[in-house]
Amino acid sequence: MPLPVRHLLLAALGLAAVAGLLSVTGDLTALRIAAVGYTMLAVAGLQLLVGGSGQVSLGHGAFMMIGAYSMALLVLHQPTLPLAANLGVIVVVSVAAGVAVGAATARLHGPYLAGATLILAVGLPGLAHRFHAFLGGSNGLNIRTAGAPPFLDGLVTTSEWRALVVWTTVVLGLAVLATISAGRLGRRMRAIRDDETAAAMAGVPVGATKVVAFVIASAAGGLAGGLQAYVLGTVTPSSFTLVLSLTLLAALVLGGIGSLWGALWASMAIVYLDVWATDLARAANLGRNAENNLPVVFFGVVLILVLRFWPLGVHGALRSLGARLRAVRSDTSSRTPQ
């Protein structure tokens, strides 16, 4: 079966699973499920870039910001455009941004690339203040997006509808990422990650492939940001600071580099560790300051603990557990890893 077909089938299965989950949960959980969705798309893009091509970006949050502000501006200034068209424009805009940044940084390796993308993460939120009238300064932009279509009245709530829209986009995006990752392009990226000289000597265009990886990751990040703006109805520069970029990268390591499943665990960690930490701070009556900062500390502690005991992240741990179970069951001494 060709890869795109297989991955579209898996995407449909994933969407059905999310729909099933939504039907048994409440409105608040629906928003969190949506948050897991768009966060997963962002992390999956980073997965392709870091795990696939071996480039480290500290500026992934900046592309989410580009997508989110694009969505807000489109809704405010082109209110007649349907959501799907908005998402299409966002992909185009973030691809363009990715080409610009990727081409500028293509010759940079390791820490230098990280440094250049760091500048992006630190600098971009400043634009919202610089162009106050257009981008709304620190208050950001507020938008109203359509809820569920009338014929679904009473069947799904607005939150559930938004979660479904988000996840439909996300599973399609993941199908594209999975197809790229499992195909020729993904193999070329991994070859570059493992050994640039040997990859070039085999005919892989190293520079171009790196830029393409960067652009694909940017598109995923931008699309994720656009979905976030659609769900939350508000975009502010403070949501896209360096902390977001670092959190995405740290969560990727926590979830496990090298697999899209890692991106799922990562996005669940980002969304739910925050929720739990906030609940904890409230329950303990720690006050506003602690309530704001506890999630970061909590996240850091979990990251350290996970990597202390599972160096390959949650997905690595699950995989070795699975391998051990299979070994016990088969009980033959065939040790060929698949």
């Binding site: 060709p2 890869l3 020729r184 193999r187 040997a198 990859a199 000597m201 085999a202 005919g203």
Partner: protein
């Protein structure tokens, strides 16, 4: 060696490479004909690897030029040469450590895939057929080198001798017209070296081979022509017999008066 007639596959003319004040190669010429096996020998530091890097496009010469089939190479970057049909192995093998053996060799075959940018990014169009063909080619290459049973292992889990065969399979999977081998016999046992000689003779049915090698028995055994470098200059070239009889060669391998056939043997198993 002054001609660039199209019957030569690869020619190097007046190649000079300077690193700061050090002249690594000085006015070196080389030609490789289709189907021939050319050996590149010389004491350590003679410039063999530097010349190799020039031929494979990893290093650009300070002066002089390399031409491919009578014309300048199709591009200045390494991957252009590979696309034109030049493959190489590395002294340190440089396998992709996190990719299974099959994936390693599929990268080597990748240049033969015919799908364009669209199929590459979308996975549509020719992609499915390309992937199947690449897998078949890679498996065929692994079988040719007798290591097909390790297709799904990671290279690091395999013995060194097997890894070397994988590296050869990766280089040959793209069906190059010229194969550059960097010390193919280093780290191999006597028995494995004899096998390698047969292997190289077999390969030269399909492609020209240039090898850098310390193992003189192998060089004299398989090469049609031998080029001897010393201090960055060509001090001798010709058939193995001619080179062995050349007094300049004997002098270059200082401390030995018996000629190159036994002189540098102690350098086998260079640290990698």
């Amino acid at each position: 060696m002054t001609t660039t007639a199209p019957e030569h596959l690869l020619t190097a003319d007046g190649v000079t490479v300077r690193f700061g004040g050090l002249t690594a190669l000085d006015d070196v010429g080389l030609r490789v004909d289709p189907g021939s096996v050319v050996g590149l020998i010389g004491p350590n530091g003679a410039g063999k690897t530097t010349l190799f890097n020039v031929l494979s496009g990893v290093l650009r010469p300070t002066r002089g030029a390399v031409s491919w089939k009578g014309a300048p190479p199709p591009g200045r970057r390494t991957h252009h040469l590979a696309g034109a049909g030049i493959a190489r192995t590395f002294q340190g093998l440089n396998l992709f450590p996190m990719m299974p053996v099959l994936g390693n060799v599929m990268v080597g075959a990748d240049r033969l895939a015919r799908g364009g940018a669209f199929s590459l990014v979308s996975g549509l169009g020719r992609h499915h057929r390309d992937e199947r063909e690449l897998r078949e080619r890679a498996m065929a290459a692994l079988e040719r080198f007798g290591v097909a049973e390790h297709a799904h292992r990671l290279p690091g889990t395999l013995p060194y001798g097997v890894q070397k065969q994988v590296a050869l399979a990766r280089a040959c999977a793209g069906e190059p017209e010229l194969l550059l081998l960097d010390e193919p016999a280093s780290g191999l046992s006597g028995h494995e070296t004899a096998e390698l000689a047969d292997r190289i003779r077999g390969l030269s049915q399909d492609m020209a081979v240039v090898l850098v090698e310390h193992h003189m028995d192998l060089v004299m055994d398989v090469c049609d022509r031998v080029v001897v470098l010393d201090f960055g200059r060509v001090i001798s070239s010709g058939t193995p017999d001619e080179v062995q009889a050349d007094p300049a060669v004997t002098r270059a391998y200082l401390g030995t008066s018996t000629g190159p056939a036994t002189g540098p043997d102690d350098r086998n198993g260079d640290p990698r």
